[in-house]
C-alpha cells in the first residue's frame, strides 16, 4: 500500500464515485479525530459505499442503523461510555448527509445538542439526496436542478432557499460549531481537532461536492469546494459559546456565475432571461452573506 494511505481511518478500496467530496471529507474528519473515536452513521452514500458486506472501510468502531437517528444513537453511545466509566476510551462522532441531518434527522440532532451530550455531529453537505438519485433536500440551493426539483418549461429548478442549518444549530448555544469545506482540508482538520478537544455537543457542517449529482468534473471537486467559499455562498466560520471566533475572509470575492458554470445542475440559469434573473437573485444572497459576515467588498465582474 502506498504510504499516503497508511493510518487512514477510512481505508481506501471503498466504492465511492470518482471525485466524491463526501469520501474525502469523511477521511479528513476521521484522520483528524484519530483512532480513539466511535462513529455513528446515518443511512446514505457514506454508509453504502463504505460497508458493503463482507468488507468495511472503517478502521474505527462504527455503527449504522437508520436514516434519521445518527445523533440519537451517538447520544446512546456517549451515555453508555459515561455510565460504564469508559469516557476516556473514545470520542463520539455522529455523521450524516444533508438530508439525514437537516430534514429527517433534524429532531434527533436538536435533542442531542439541547441535552449537552458529548458528541461531535458532522454533516456532509452535498445539497441533495444523492444516495437515492439526486432528489431535493432542505439544503438544496435555489435554482439547482434535482430529480424532484427538475428544470422544465415552467420551472427553473429548486424554488426554495437553502435552509440555514448552521443558524438553527447555533440557536442551541452549544460550545463549538463550525462550517468547513473539503476545498480547505487543513482548515477542516484544524476545526475537527478543536471540536474533539471540547466536552459537550459540537457541530461541523462540511461542504462536499458530488460530481455525479451536480454534473461536475470529478477532477474539479476541490476547485468547486473552494469556489463556493470564495463566492460567499458558504462562509467558513467557527463559533465558540455563541461567539464568532474565526472567519475566513475573502481577498477577492468571485461572482456566483463562476461557481455555477462548472456544474450542470445550474447550466439552465445561463440559458434564459429568467435564469439570469434567478442568478442575480442568488448573487444578492452571496452579497448579503458577504456583508453580514464582513467577508469582503463587492465581487469584481468576471
Amino acid at each position: 500500500m502506498h504510504k499516503l494511505y497508511n493510518n487512514n481511518l477510512l481505508a481506501p478500496g471503498h466504492t465511492a464515485c470518482r471525485g466524491c467530496g463526501e469520501a474525502l471529507g469523511a477521511r479528513l474528519v476521521l484522520n483528524a479525530a484519530g483512532p480513539k473515536t466511535i462513529v455513528t452513521n446515518a443511512t446514505g452514500c457514506l454508509e453504502v459505499f463504505s460497508t458493503r458486506y463482507p468488507q468495511s472501510a472503517w478502521e474505527v468502531p462504527w455503527i449504522h442503523s437508520l436514516f434519521e437517528n445518527s445523533a440519537a444513537v451517538a447520544s446512546g453511545v456517549a451515555a453508555a461510555l459515561k455510565s460504564m466509566g469508559r469516557e476516556d476510551e473514545a470520542r463520539v462522532i455522529a455523521q450524516g448527509g444533508d438530508g439525514g441531518t437537516a430534514d429527517i434527522g433534524l429532531q434527533a440532532l436538536s435533542g442531542t445538542l439541547e441535552r449537552g451530550d458529548d458528541v461531535l455531529y458532522v454533516c456532509y453537505d452535498n445539497e441533495a439526496y444523492m444516495n437515492t438519485g439526486v432528489q431535493r433536500s432542505g439544503l438544496t440551493p435555489p435554482g439547482a436542478h434535482t430529480t424532484t426539483s427538475p428544470v422544465g418549461k415552467v420551472s427553473i429548478g429548486n424554488k426554495t432557499n437553502k435552509k440555514d442549518l448552521p443558524s438553527i444549530v447555533a440557536a442551541h448555544h452549544i460550545p463549538y460549531m463550525a462550517t468547513a469545506s473539503v476545498g480547505f482540508p487543513a482548515d477542516l482538520q484544524r476545526k475537527v481537532k478543536k471540536a474533539v478537544s471540547i466536552k459537550g455537543p459540537k457541530y461541523i457542517q462540511v461542504f462536499v461536492p458530488c460530481p455525479l449529482g451536480w454534473g461536475s468534473d470529478p477532477a474539479l471537486t476541490i476547485k468547486i469546494a473552494k469556489l463556493i467559499v470564495e463566492t460567499a455562498l458558504f462562509p467558513l466560520y467557527e463559533k465558540e459559546d455563541g461567539k464568532l471566533t474565526s472567519l475566513r475572509k475573502l481577498v477577492k470575492r468571485k461572482p456566483v456565475s463562476e461557481y455555477f458554470k462548472l456544474q450542470k445542475r445550474f447550466a439552465h440559469l445561463f440559458k434564459t432571461e429568467e435564469g439570469k434573473r434567478e442568478m442575480e437573485r442568488i448573487q444578492a444572497i452571496a452579497d448579503k452573506n458577504a456583508e453580514e459576515y464582513g467577508l469582503t467588498s463587492k465581487p469584481k465582474a468576471p
Binding site: K36, Y53, W62, A72, G76, V77, A79, A80
Partner: protein, 392 residues
C-alpha cells in the same frame, strides 16, 4: 419484601435491581409512572445509570440501541403511538442482535385517540424480531422484567425482549407483589458481558449494507434464535424459581385443563378474568379450562399443541384485531393446530378494545356463542347501537 404496590412501581423496582447502565424514554400515558420512578431512583443515586431525556420515542429507541451496542445494559418503556413510532428502530435493534429490554404498557392506537388498554400496539410490533412476553398481573410484570434480561443476553438468543403489560390494569393497579431482594437478583442475573461491542479495543462495523447474498440468512438466524429462545425461556423460569423460591414464567400456563373439553386461550390480565370464569363454570359442572400464552414471540407451538390436543373446542379471546382478517392470536392457534388428527374446533373472539371492560359475562358469552354460526372474528360486547348506527 411483600408490598401492596402499583404495577409500574413494581416494574421500576425490578428494573432497578437489574442495574441498567442507560435508561431512555419519552413520556406517554400509561407508561409514565415506570419512567418517572426510574428517573427518581437515578436522581437519588439509588440506581447508578444515565437517564437520557429524549425528544421522541424514535430517539429513545435509538439511544438504547446505541447504548446496548456499546456494551451497556439498557432499558426503555413506551406504549401505543410511542411504540408505533419506535417500530422502525425496533427492527434495527433486533437485526443488530442487541439485548435491550422494553416495558410496553399496552394501550389502544389512534384514531380515535384512546389511552385505555388493548393489545393493538404490541401486535403491530409482532414481526420486529423482538421476543414478546405478556404479563397477567403486577407480580408477573415485575418478574418478567428480571427474566427478560437473562433471556435477551443468553448467547443462543441475543434478541431484545418486550415485556407487555396491560395499561392501567397492571401499570396503575395496586396489588400485593413480592419485591425481590438485591441479593436474589444479583444471584439470578449476572452482569452483562457482550461478546462484541463498540470499543476502540476491537474496531468493528455494525449495521453494514447486505445484499441478497446474505440478507435472508441474517433473518433466518433471528428466526433460529427465536426457536432457541423457547428452551431458554423455560430454563430461565426454572432458574428463577430455584433462586426466588417461587415459580413464574415459561412459555404458557395451563389452568384446569384436566378433562377440559372447552379451553379458553388468551393473554395478559384477561387471563385472570378467564380463570375466575373457569372456576365458576367448573362448579356448574362444565368441563372448561384455560391456556395462557405468556410468550407470543416466539410462539410456543409445541406447548400449545400439548395443551389443546385433547380439547373439543378452543375459544381464543384477545384484545387486538388484524382488521379485515382476525385476531392475531386466533390465527396463531389455528395455524398451530391445523393438521392434527383430531383438530379441535377453534373460534376467535375480539374483546376489550380501547379499554372496554372484560367481565365474567364476556367470557361466558364466548362459550355460549361457540356453536352459533355468528361470523368470525366474534366481537364480544359490541353495543347494539352507537350514535344511531346499528352494530349487533
Amino acid at each position: 419484601m411483600f408490598a401492596a404496590i402499583e404495577g409500574s412501581l413494581a416494574v421500576a423496582e425490578a428494573v432497578k435491581r437489574c442495574k441498567p447502565d442507560v435508561v431512555s424514554a419519552y413520556p406517554i400515558t400509561p407508561q409514565t409512572h415506570i419512567i418517572e420512578e426510574l428517573a427518581k431512583m437515578i436522581a437519588n443515586g439509588e440506581l447508578k445509570a444515565e437517564y437520557v431525556n429524549v425528544e421522541s420515542e424514535h430517539s429513545a429507541a435509538s439511544v438504547v440501541l446505541g447504548a446496548s451496542a456499546t456494551g451497556a445494559r439498557a432499558y426503555t418503556a413506551t406504549t401505543s403511538q410511542g411504540l408505533l413510532l419506535m417500530v422502525e428502530v425496533l427492527y434495527c435493534i433486533a437485526g443488530l442482535r442487541l439485548p435491550v429490554v422494553l416495558g410496553a404498557a399496552n394501550r389502544a392506537v389512534s384514531a380515535p385517540i384512546n389511552i385505555w388498554n388493548d393489545f393493538q400496539d404490541t401486535m403491530a410490533a409482532r414481526d420486529t424480531g423482538w421476543i414478546q412476553l405478556y404479563a397477567e398481573n403486577n407480580q408477573e410484570a415485575s418478574d418478567l422484567h428480571i427474566q427478560a434480561y437473562k433471556i435477551a443476553e443468553n448467547k443462543d438468543v441475543r434478541l431484545p425482549v418486550m415485556v407487555c403489560m396491560d395499561g392501567y390494569l397492571i401499570t396503575h393497579s395496586i396489588e400485593p407483589v413480592r419485591i425481590p431482594s438485591k441479593e436474589e437478583v444479583d444471584k439470578f442475573l449476572p452482569s452483562y458481558r457482550p461478546e462484541h461491542c463498540l470499543t476502540t479495543k476491537e474496531p468493528l462495523t455494525f449495521g453494514y449494507l447486505m445484499g441478497s447474498e446474505g440478507y435472508m440468512e441474517t433473518r433466518y438466524l433471528i428466526h433460529e434464535a427465536m426457536e432457541n429462545a423457547k428452551g431458554v425461556i423455560e430454563d430461565v423460569a426454572k432458574d428463577f424459581s430455584s433462586v426466588f423460591g417461587r415459580f413464574c414464567g415459561g412459555l404458557v400456563e395451563e389452568y384446569r385443563l384436566d378433562n377440559a373439553q372447552f379451553v379458553f386461550v388468551s393473554m395478559g390480565t384477561m387471563v385472570g378474568v378467564i380463570k375466575e370464569a373457569v372456576d365458576a363454570l367448573r362448579t356448574e359442572g362444565k368441563k372448561v379450562g384455560a391456556l395462557k400464552i405468556r410468550s407470543f414471540r416466539p410462539f410456543p407451538k409445541e406447548a400449545v399443541i400439548k395443551a389443546l390436543k385433547g380439547a373439543a373446542g378452543v375459544m381464543v379471546i384477545e384484545k387486538d384485531v388484524s382488521l379485515g382478517s382476525a385476531g392475531a392470536l386466533a390465527l396463531e392457534v389455528k395455524d398451530t393446530l391445523y393438521g392434527l388428527k383430531k383438530m379441535p374446533k377453534v373460534k376467535g373472539y375480539i374483546a376489550g378494545l380501547g379499554g372496554r371492560e372484560v367481565l365474567n359475562e364476556t367470557i361466558v358469552k364466548a362459550l355460549t356463542l361457540f356453536d352459533s354460526d355468528v361470523k368470525e372474528p366474534v366481537f364480544l360486547d359490541l353495543k347494539e347501537s352507537v350514535e344511531g348506527r346499528k352494530y349487533a
